[in-house]
């Protein structure tokens, strides 16, 4: 835990300085997580602010400071999920040509150091964004938390409030859906398929 319980209790009591300190300590991590979850750099700060806004207004509901971090993660996941759902509603996800991106990515990989690193990172982000755009927001976030954020099943249990077995099943199914989209995009070159929800 990056902050002590006393600071959380002070923030719960309405101490703005304590809240500021909590934000300062966690913002880098939250910004990183949000950027990986939503994959749109231009909206990362907006979503992260939404996380801390929700934190501010719900801090008094936190009974035990020990669960602060999983709780903050849950707020992050919920904010990212809401954002992705709004985005999906706003514009039907473009079925970009993943195969072409994969080729470009492979080219970048082959080029190695000759390629600009930023360019490569951008392509990776686009490829993953496009791939995960073919699965539901729930699958996307769950996979991101497990595979990219590296959260353990125990931590995921605390965030999702479901038991380990149920999580394993959900993870397996989410992974299968992504793999299906991944395989389909590689075979027919038409981009990822939108699975049945």
């Amino acid at each position: 835990m990056l902050v002590d319980f006393e600071l959380i209790k002070r923030a719960q009591g309405g101490d703005a300085a304590a809240f500021n300190e909590i934000v300062t300590v966690y913002r880098k991590r939250i910004l990183g997580t949000v950027s990986r979850l939503i994959a749109r750099t231009e909206d990362v700060e907006d979503v992260a602010q939404e996380v801390f806004l929700r934190l501010y207004f719900s801090l008094d509901q936190l009974r035990t400071p020990e669960v602060f971090e999983p709780w903050l993660y849950r707020l992050t996941v919920n904010a990212a999920f809401d954002y992705l759902r709004k985005q999906r509603r706003r514009q039907e996800f473009r079925m970009s040509d993943l195969s072409e991106q994969q080729v470009m990515l492979a080219d970048a990989a082959a080029g190695g150091k000759a390629e600009q690193e930023d360019q490569h990172h951008k392509k990776v982000r686009e490829a993953v964004d496009s791939l995960l755009g073919a699965v539901s927001e729930q699958d996307r976030i769950l996979l991101m938390l497990k595979e990219v954020e590296g959260l353990s099943l125990k931590e995921l249990e605390n965030i999702y409030k479901v038991n380990e077995n149920a999580l394993k099943v959900r993870l397996f199914r989410a992974r299968q859906r992504v793999l299906k989209a991944f395989g389909a995009s590689g075979k027919d070159g038409q981009g990822p398929q939108r699975p049945d929800r």
Partner: protein
Amino acid sequence: MFPQRGSDEEKLNALLQAYKAACPDRDASANFMPALWQRIEARQSFSFSFFRMASGFVTAALALSIALGVYMSLPHTNSTPYYSQSYVEAVADANSSDLVFPVRLDVQPPAR
């Protein structure tokens, strides 16, 4: 790096790992905290005005209830006639001079 060979599982794992490297933790812009507090204050003022409006409605409803209760409990004269008697009593009162007695019938057995 994104591998060209291997199963889809391996490719996906590699892609996700590359993704992690492509999206490192980042620091916030200088405007992050002021913008956050602006949003907090905006939400607070909205909640405050909503609360004030709601409490105003509650107060008004309470005052109206009390006023109605007081009004209903006060005895007041009615312009409209109010009949406490039944119809028969009212008719009897109206015709008090005409004494009405029960009719006595002497029934005689028929002659045989």
